[in-house]
């Protein structure tokens, strides 16, 4: 449906080709979250892998910082329509986390859990093979608390609500269980290139 009188402002072609449908480019780094930014004491920070309720392995901040580190740079896409290009992150890949734990993924799905009790589901296949990491640096610095520091999940090929802020662990689940937003009408998978914003998209 053509909107009377709307001409729009198209991004230049190289930008347009990097923008998923319905997204616009921002140079800012907007902040989206449910509530206040939690205060996290690094001395008490833990990152824990669980299978259901059972803890498998847990790391302190110092232990986690000693794991192999990987850099990733690229574009991120928020379901609220903004995209940001050329963001630079550093952290520990999901593959390296499993290797350090000495395990293979026990199930095909998991829920990322945040210190703010946020949860979001991600298939293991979307984290393995270098696709996802737990990031602890943004643009070469500690991640600011408003952007999920000290550590956040990074799954950049999915809408950014999947990249849980203030992540405290990954809980493997037998089936694909909906997290916080997925229970409230947002898409279970969230591929920006297929514009999977909401249930049924």
């Amino acid at each position: 449906m053509v909107t009377r009188g709307f001409t729009g402002r198209r991004p230049p072609r190289p930008d347009a080709e990097r923008l998923p449908p319905g997204q616009y480019l921002t140079d800012d780094f907007p902040v989206l979250q449910l509530g206040p930014t939690p205060k996290i004491d690094l001395a008490r920070w833990r990152f824990t892998l669980r299978e259901g309720a059972k803890p498998l392995t847990s790391w302190t901040w110092e232990e986690f910082e000693a794991l192999p580190r990987t850099r990733w740079a690229g574009d991120i896409h928020c379901v609220t329509k903004w995209s940001k290009f050329d963001t630079a992150w550093e952290g520990v890949t999901f593959d390296d986390i499993l290797a350090a734990a000495g395990i293979e993924a026990p199930t095909a799905y998991l829920l990322a859990e945040g210190y703010d009790d946020y949860t979001t589901n991600v298939p293991v296949a979307d984290l393995a093979g270098g696709k996802g990491m737990v990031a602890t640096r943004y643009a070469g610095e500690a991640i600011p608390p408003d952007h999920g520091g000290p550590a956040r999940l990074l799954v950049p090929h999915l809408y950014f609500w999947k990249s849980a802020k203030w992540v405290k662990g990954l809980r493997f689940t037998q089936k694909d269980e909906a997290g916080f937003w997925e229970l409230r009408g947002y898409h279970m998978y969230g591929d920006p290139w297929r514009e999977q914003r909401f249930t049924g998209d």
Binding site: M1, V2, T3, R4, G5, F6, T7, G8, R9, R10, P21, G22, Y24, T26, D27, D28, F29, P30, V31, L32, Q33, L34, G35, P36, T37, P38, K39, T80, K81, W82, D116, D117, D146, F180, W181, L183, R184, G185, F198, T199, G200, D201
Partner: protein
């Protein structure tokens, strides 16, 4: 249940403040909307180019068939500029919703309710306080609203009238860009909490720096973080 795009006709348009325009849209919902939720709108150019944005609903869920959006004109705003300068009653746009299940208030949740808005961040709070006045007037509520100047206060006359007429509602207005103006600080938050009592639910909406600063102040004032919901506009 899928959220499908619908054609929504603009039935009225009027200036709300010098920078904010009120647009009323005729909408048919597949499910009721809740106070605090937003809609996505989509505009299409003749060559097929599209732009989407999200806007909070300002009106009450008790009038679901005609929603008010209060759209602030942003500098270089691709979509807000269209709504400010081009859109007129009789035009149709595409819209889908309602969207959002965290920044919402339903009467059974009760109160006291602390609503904190900065600038156009007051919009979803208006829906909540309008709904409260109709559906749960006994729930105590306080709106702490920070605006730049008197003329930029959205729904100013209505808020002043509600403050005077509704026993359970209190307006605390803070102006930042007037002589003697002040930002929302710990003192002002303390005054609001003293007037309202401990809120059961707090909703904070505005631009990023405003919401970060206010939610930190609220936590420092002793409010449990899980009782505070935030919504942020823009970058």
């Amino acid at each position: 249940m899928a959220l499908t795009w619908q054609e929504a006709r603009i039935t009225a348009a009027a200036p709300e403040t010098p920078r904010v325009r009120r647009l009323t849209l005729a909408v048919g919902w597949s499910r009721p909307f809740r106070a605090g939720q937003h809609v996505d709108v989509r505009l299409t150019a003749p060559d097929g180019y599209q732009a989407q944005r999200s806007y909070s609903i300002a009106s009450s869920p008790s009038r679901p068939e005609a929603i008010d959006l209060l759209i602030e004109r942003l500098d270089d705003g691709e979509v807000s500029g269209f709504f400010a300068d081009v859109a007129e009653p009789g035009d149709a746009i595409e819209l889908r919703g309602p969207i959002g299940g965290a920044f919402v208030w339903d009467p059974p949740q009760g109160g006291p309710l602390l609503l904190v808005g900065g600038g156009s961040g007051v919009v979803p709070l208006l829906s909540i306080l309008r709904h409260r006045a109709e559906a749960a007037p006994a729930v105590p509520a306080l709106l702490l609203y920070s605006a730049r100047t008197q003329e930029e206060v959205i729904a100013r006359e209505e808020l002043i009238r509600r403050d005077a007429e509704e026993p359970g509602f209190r307006l605390m207005l803070t102006l930042t860009r007037v002589p003697g103006g002040r930002r929302l600080d710990a003192g002002r938050i303390g005054e609001a909490l003293a007037a309202l009592g401990q809120p059961a639910h707090t909703f904070v909406c505005g631009a990023n720096p405003f919401v970060s600063a206010v939610s930190d102040l609220l936590v420092e004032a002793g409010l449990p973080p899980q009782t505070i919901r935030t919504e942020r506009f823009g970058g």
